[in-house]
Symmetry: C2
Subunit: 348 residues, 2 copies
């Protein structure tokens, strides 16, 4: 029996990043109806950083987790309701259990690609409760295929029914997708998924390449709605599945309608690339760095693309935002020194 | 000796479609400076439909061909100035000879993919004058690889130094690119190029795939600036060349800067996809049909996507816009008849 392709629509979770987590009840209801009609397998809902993340530090959501989940759940019949849980943001008693009471059908527990062990408690607990649970490996371009097999293996051991590789920086090429997804499909017993970002303009082909490499879950959002360069658009993934005649539950016109609905209602800006989002993808830096890099660039007079390329060389991850200031100051000082040959001349 | 990759920047020609041919002198000068600095090999300039096309039927340009070409030429030193010539729009005496007097370095003569013979007069004439000349095969997804080899072979025989496959409908998948470009590269003695459109979200990967299949010319525009779903963005093609370490004259930061310049100055809307542009790509219908299809859809109350899919089945090409009304009326009548099973149920 071939594994059936699952489309996970993260418009109402990853997309929430694009509007500073301000999606409200009416928009959630309207989009959930459209996603149900389109036949998405899972609709992921919540704050951009998942359950329990609403905070001054990463942004206060317009409405509570329970309100978001309730609004979506009321519209779903065949599509499952999903949530993201990142240990640290989300705790079991305060966040996960109340979410399950709202009718959540599956939980995706995420961690940095080399830190799968932090997902152990939540995955085992959810699994023991009989809840469908998947593991997410963030910033997965930073780890080798071998390392990813090891980390995904831990999640499988804890009881995850699938592991999804997150391209948090939009840094994957199709060749990287083929290699890493292929290796995981070969070495693991559970389903493998891929979550694309569009910094290099490759989100659609990376999603299709993942499927061809054996992935059975791909993440999408309406119009690519998400932070920075955005995600793989549901409407374009559906169009390519149609053209390539790849079987899935999602309906072409339903996906097109869902994307139109999202654009009419709450997509203020369809995600596009600019110099900073592209440099971010080349550097393999988490897209959340884009805004602080732009600010540091203005403050210190350093080229934001050079800041990003240097951050990429230093392999920074989320939480290391202080490094931005240090790099920006160093680049500005270097630029001020007229007799110093431009350190990045080779790259431009 | 490996063939050196040429980047043809059509921002000031194909992009003119996106602003109803209203690019003016100041914008052309500013962008030509940015393109020269970025190191593009050819900067194509003019009315969206090329030399001599300014007309009530396809749109009156803001300034004359000579003014556009003069403004661009003044900024170019290492980049060549290119023009598009479609026999029918452009005539030798009225359009081509004056354009050459403006300092045009190369002419691309285009025709529908099965009608290369209409380019004979212009290609042979330009060649006899010692002008660099290339052939363009429009709507090339509609012809088999064998037919394209035959038609490109005619252009080669007339004296074209290269033939470029135009994906006028944005209907190519990477597999189609690999097959058709590969076949032309194998069978012809001259350089082969590819001109992408983004209706299926594949413009970047199709450009990179064309290069890997042996193409030595790819067409780009800043931010994908062009009609409908737009072209392959110069900034994303440059980013992918950088990431894939493919050698080219174009500079990464220069390409990013050029795209930023275009967006600041004249890209009113960065091209994105919607239901209609995507359906157009799936159907393989020329993107110029999108606007009249939207109008017919509103007028007759038929789904614009169904109109496009039916037009695709009828294999319509530019010039057959009257068919839109016929199809829209038929679909509306069918919809009005409540007991008729939806003819397109299988597709949605």
């Amino acid at each position: 029996m071939s594994v059936k392709l699952q489309i996970c629509d993260s418009t109402l979770r990853d997309g929430n990043h694009a509007v500073a987590h301000q999606l409200g009840r009416a928009d959630i209801s309207a989009y959930a109806r459209a996603a149900e009609a389109a036949g998405v397998d899972v609709l992921e809902v919540g704050h951009g950083n998942g359950l329990g993340a609403s905070s001054i530090q990463v942004g206060i959501a317009a409405i509570s987790d329970a309100e978001m989940l309730g609004a979506a759940k009321a519209e779903l019949r065949n599509s499952r309701l999903g949530v993201l849980s990142i240990p640290g943001f989300a705790s079991v008693e305060r966040d996960l259990k109340p979410a399950l009471d709202c009718g959540v059908d599956e939980v995706r527990v995420g961690a940095h690609c080399t830190e799968a062990d932090v997902t152990r408690q939540q995955i085992t607990m959810l699994r023991s409760m009989g809840v469908r649970v998947k593991g997410l490996l963030l910033m997965s371009h930073m780890a080798s295929a071998g390392k990813l097999v090891e980390q995904a293996g831990l999640m499988q051991e804890y009881g995850a029914e699938a592991v999804v590789l997150m391209d948090s920086a939009g840094a994957y090429t199709p060749e990287m997708v083929r290699e890493k997804v292929g290796e995981l499909v070969e070495k693991l017993d559970i389903a493998i998924g891929f979550h694309a970002h569009n910094n290099l303009g490759l989100s659609v082909i990376n999603s299709i390449t993942a499927i061809r490499a054996g992935a059975s879950i791909v993440d999408v959002t309406a119009r690519g709605f998400g932070a920075g360069a955005g995600n793989a658009p549901i409407e374009l993934v559906a169009a390519n599945l149609h053209v390539e005649q790849i079987e899935a539950r999602i309906k072409l016109f339903g996906a097109l309608d869902a994307a139109d609905t999202a654009e009419e209602r709450f997509v203020k800006h369809v995600p596009t690339n600019d110099s900073v989002t592209i440099a971010s993808g080349i550097a393999g830096v988490f897209s959340g760095f884009a805004a602080p890099v732009r600010r540091a660039s203005r403050r210190f007079g350093a080229d934001p693309r050079e800041i990003l390329l240097e951050l990429g060389r230093r392999r920074v991850v989320a939480g290391q935002e202080d490094t931005i200031i240090e790099v920006a100051m160093a680049l500005a000082a270097e630029r001020a020194s007229a007799d110093v040959t431009h350190a990045f001349a080779d790259h431009i």
